[in-house]
Each structure stands twice: as structure tokens, then as C-alpha cells.
Symmetry: C2
Amino acid sequence: MGRRRQAVTIRHVASEAGVSLQTVSRVINNESNVRPEMRARVQGAIDKLGYVPSIAAQRMSGSRSYLILALNDRDRTIADWRARQGADWIDQMLLGGMLTCAEHGYRMIFELVDTHSDHVERELAGIVAALQPDGVVLTPPHSDNAQIVAFLAGKHIPFARIGSLGEGGGIALTMDDEAAAGMATRYLADLGHRRIALIGGNREYHVSDWRIDGWRSAMAEAGLPTDGLLAEGDFSYASGEAAAQALLGRAERPTAIIASNDQMALATLETARAMGIAIPADLSLISFDNTPIVRFSQPALTAVDQPIAATVARAVERLIAAGNGEDEGGHEVIPATLVPRDSVAPPR
Amino acid sequence: MGRRRQAVTIRHVASEAGVSLQTVSRVINNESNVRPEMRARVQGAIDKLGYVPSIAAQRMSGSRSYLILALNDRDRTIADWRARQGADWIDQMLLGGMLTCAEHGYRMIFELVDTHSDHVERELAGIVAALQPDGVVLTPPHSDNAQIVAFLAGKHIPFARIGSLGEGGGIALTMDDEAAAGMATRYLADLGHRRIALIGGNREYHVSDWRIDGWRSAMAEAGLPTDGLLAEGDFSYASGEAAAQALLGRAERPTAIIASNDQMALATLETARAMGIAIPADLSLISFDNTPIVRFSQPALTAVDQPIAATVARAVERLIAAGNGEDEGGHEVIPATLVPRDSVAPPR
DNA sequence: GTGAAAGCGCTAACAT
DNA sequence: ATGTTAGCGCTTTCAC
């Protein structure tokens, strides 16, 4: 393979422009104390030679690495990939993260980490030592992993926690699940629905509670009772079936159901079909997350969109700002939207 | 943000173990000429201190970067992400690539490159200079981009070309599209179908031709005519509709259709439904690619699986071998499989 | 405003 | 089998 050396280095640029290495470095890093004409001359040499700084060398001399690390749960991600059911979360994270990184001259590196292991810290320490990222994006369940948070905080590496309120430090970002659930509920109530049920998600995830809270508040505001309208699920298809059966088996069955994720919504759709309940004529259905599959069901599902790309984009921006000492940390909420499709209609 | 220095370096390990830097380096790199007891002592120090080499420093001193770069088409990837229709290709590539990299102590870095631009080479040169990867995985359409191939070959960076026959060098890997199309065709013929149509894909992609060839050969082998049974598509949903309408509007309409990708298969499904043609009773349908959505259609689609993960995994293995001078390049075929679901039945 | 010197953490080449 | 030296490409001091 040949020990590849940098083809064109800062030295070539310096001699081409007839200046010192230092001046070139200043231009690269957009520092002050360079006369515009000097800057132009150096930039000319850079362009002419097609020079690009080596991030390895930059890192070596104590500067930033221009690398943002994005961490996802290993088991869950691999399982999703293997099952080949789509991994929309990852895609959207990459979309928001990579593009925003690129805008700022950074690069996003995507890694998988095993939360459940007792040596998370060791694993993370290895990744950090090897890559030396300027910032880390944590996704659930890592966002609330005390070991990870403590490690990063101790190393003074800026980190963003997606889907967490962020007790313990760092930049916390949540998508507005409570408001989104409220929005979906109001949307149905405004159409005349009165028995609007919710299938909740796994309570180990904060979002499940937030969605329940949003639904409950909106129902209360609309003067609607919620008794017997909350069914427990755990985000799995099977739990969705069970919940839908319970809900739809009641004498006074709901005229609308909000499912806390797409899998459970799909399960509800199938359950209703099996029971001869037409959607949307007999039952309106709103789903959470808006992953790709809900557009291909029959009918296509009205869904609450999780703004994952926007949230990760914001995380990256704040991480980069934090690197410049320009971010104080703290919590930020990214608004969600409702995507109307064909699974909602006024009640009969 | 503090100028982060490596917490524990090779120097700490050396002094902890009471040996020279070089010996530690030898242990890290698993070189010979170290006595087992020395090796053990050094390894002990490494473990005790939790030392991890900095890849930046390793790269600086002319060693490998332990980075494998995976390149995808920017516009297409971003469009897929934005459309939120799923980007199974990326997911599967990451699955095969990242896991295989990890097995060998490498890391996969995922980047987007704009093929259509006239400065592909410049863009790629920038990425290569910044990251200095030990190998590059090219996906279509980059696999057949002459500029990219020439650049990488010129720099003596090992590269793998997915979906290309690889004239021009490098490691070429194809999924066996021709055989797969033949397999699907025979599967239908064996059930008794005689008018088996194919909706072809965009001819700018090799796979389109390969799939057509496989279908044609299998039809010939089975003694079946193909006249009027080939419809042109371009992989888009819209082109699938048009093709399906053309095919199903004929007097002697086909009893089975093979679509060259999932979007066109879904379009065919919808078109058939609109025309009152029942699947699989009146029409059998086989799709290519086996992306997540085909399991959620009604009925779920029988599909040819593209072994993307396996192919990329193999690419990474060969790239790493190439780095050790152990791969001669050349073409390799990864077999595809047929996943039976509910969209195929014997003809009436 | 610009330049020169020192050093980041590691490995290649050369001793021993 | 192990140690020593030099240097990778860059940024940080610190001079001027």
C-alpha cells in the first residue's frame, strides 16, 4: 500500500505564496492579523495547489479535530438493520447531522456503543481517544446514561443529549412530544371526535410519558373524559395489537385512536381491519414518528412527524458553538408537526 | 473548550512497563520481535492505564489511518432521506461495513460526494487529504465514475467498486443480478406462468441490463416468448405506473410481473388494484431489492433480496487485505436470494 | 502583522 | 530482541 504521505502540505503552500508556514496556518484558520492582500495571496496558492489540511496533523498540534461523534445504541441499531424494517431514526440523524457538520467544515462520525454493558465507559474512552471528537451527540438511551454523561463532562467534551431533559449537564434537546400529542388530540377533537384513545409507549422512554401528558391535557381542555381510553403499549407491534383489541372491544369504543409509534399504529390498523372496522370511516387513526412505512399502508396514516433531522442539526450547531465557548448548555425544544394523510375523518 | 491533549500516551505506557516507546509500538501493532513476556508486560500496562492509540498520531507517523471511507451519491442520498421513504441501501451498507471494520480494528467513515459535478476529483481529493483513509468503498454511480477511479488508482489507495465490473482497476463486487432475475423468472415459470413480464430499470445502471438479461435467458430456457413483455421503467414510482398500465392494458396481459425495484413494484400493485386485478389471484408480482416497505404492502411482496450488507462486508475485508498487499483486485459475485411472501400464486 | 522555534503522539529507519 | 533518532503536518507559543 505504500506509506502515503500528504501530497501537498502547508509547506508547499507557504513556499508557493512566499510566506511563512504560520501565515498559511492563520489563513486556513481564518485568524486575524493577516493583511487582506496576504490572505488573498495565500488563498490563491491554496486553490492553485488544491491544498487541504490534514485533520490528523491539525489534531496532533492541539487544534480541534473537526469531528463530531454521533453515538447510537449498538444492539438496537443492529437489530433494526438486520430485521430490515428500516432505520429511519439513523437516516434522519445522518441527514441533519452530516449536512450541518459540512456547513461548518466539520465531519460527522457515526459509532455504535453498547449501553447495557458494564464497560460503556471503557468503550467510549477508546472511541474518544482514537478519534478525539470536538463534540458528541447522544441519542436515547445513551442520552440518559449516567456513566456516559459523567465521562464526557469529566473530559470537558461538549455533548448534546437528544430526547433528554439533561439533568447532569450538556446540551439537552427534546422534540416537543407533549405539544405534538396535544396537537393530534385537538385535531381530532376539532373534527368532532369525543372518544379519543391513546396507546402509550414503553414507559422507560421519557417520550411515552410526555405523549400521554399532552393527550391528557388536550382532552381536559376540550372537556373530554379520558376514562378507559388509555391503553398500555411498549412500542412493539404485538403490544399494539393487544392495546387495539382492548380498546376496540369495548361497548363504547373510541372513534379515534392515537398510537405512540408507527408499529403500534400499523397493528391497530390491522386489528381494526380484522374486526371489520373501517378506517377512517369508523375509526380515525393518528400515528407517531412518521417513519417511511406509514405512507405505504392502506390507507396512508396521518402522523405526527418527529423532527429528528432538525433536532440533530441543532445539536451539531450548538456543539460547535460550545467548542467556541459560545453555548451555555441547557434545554431546548424542537417543535413537531402533524402530517395529514388518509386515516382521519370526522366521526359518523 | 480546552486544547485537549491525549490523557494517556504511549510514553506513559512505556514508562509504566519500563520499556522503550518502540516496544510499546510493536505490541500495539502486533509486530514480531517482542518476547512474549515483554508483550505481556506492555499489554498489562496498556490495560491498566486504559491506553488507546491516537489515530491522528498514528497517521502522522506514516502508518495506516485505520479508516475506511464509504462514498455515496450526495443528491440521491439526501433526496431519499428528505423524502423520508427510507434509505435501506445506506442502512445495509453501514451494517455490513461498520461491523466488518470493527472486527478488524478499523472504522468506517461515511461521506457523500456529488458525482455530477465537474469537480468530483477536487471534492474527493479534499476528503482523502483530510481523512487519509486506508481504503475506499465506491457505490453506484461512483463505482463507474472514471475520474474517481483514476484519482484513487493514481494515489494507490485501495478501492472497491460495488455494482461494477471494474474495468479500470480496483476490487469489483457485484450482486448476482442476472442470476437473481433468472431465479425469479424460473420460480414463476415453475408455478405455471407463461406470460412473465419484466419492468426494467434505468439503463444508466448496469443492474438494469443484468436483470433484463437474466429474465430473457430464463424465459428462453423455459421456452417462453418475451415479445411485448418488457416494459421500460427508470426505477421511479411514476415510471412503474406507466409500465404497469402498458403491460396490464394489453389484451393478452401477463399473469406475472417482475419489477426491477420496489418502487416500481409498489406502483404495479397500486395500478393493478385500480384496474380491479387481484394480486396474487389474477397477477403474480415479484419485486427487486427487498427494501423494508415491501413487507408492509397488501399483500406483502415476494422479492429478490439484494445482499448489500454482505457485499459491503466483503468489500471491506478485501480492502483491508489489499492494504497488506494481499488482494490482487478483480471481480467477485455475491449471490442473491429470493424471499417468498404473498404476492405470488399459480396462474388461474 | 509576520516569522521562527518547539512540540503534539506516534512509527520508520537505523542502531545495538 | 530492544532502544534511539528523526520526522510526519500542523498549531502553538514567543519573538520581531
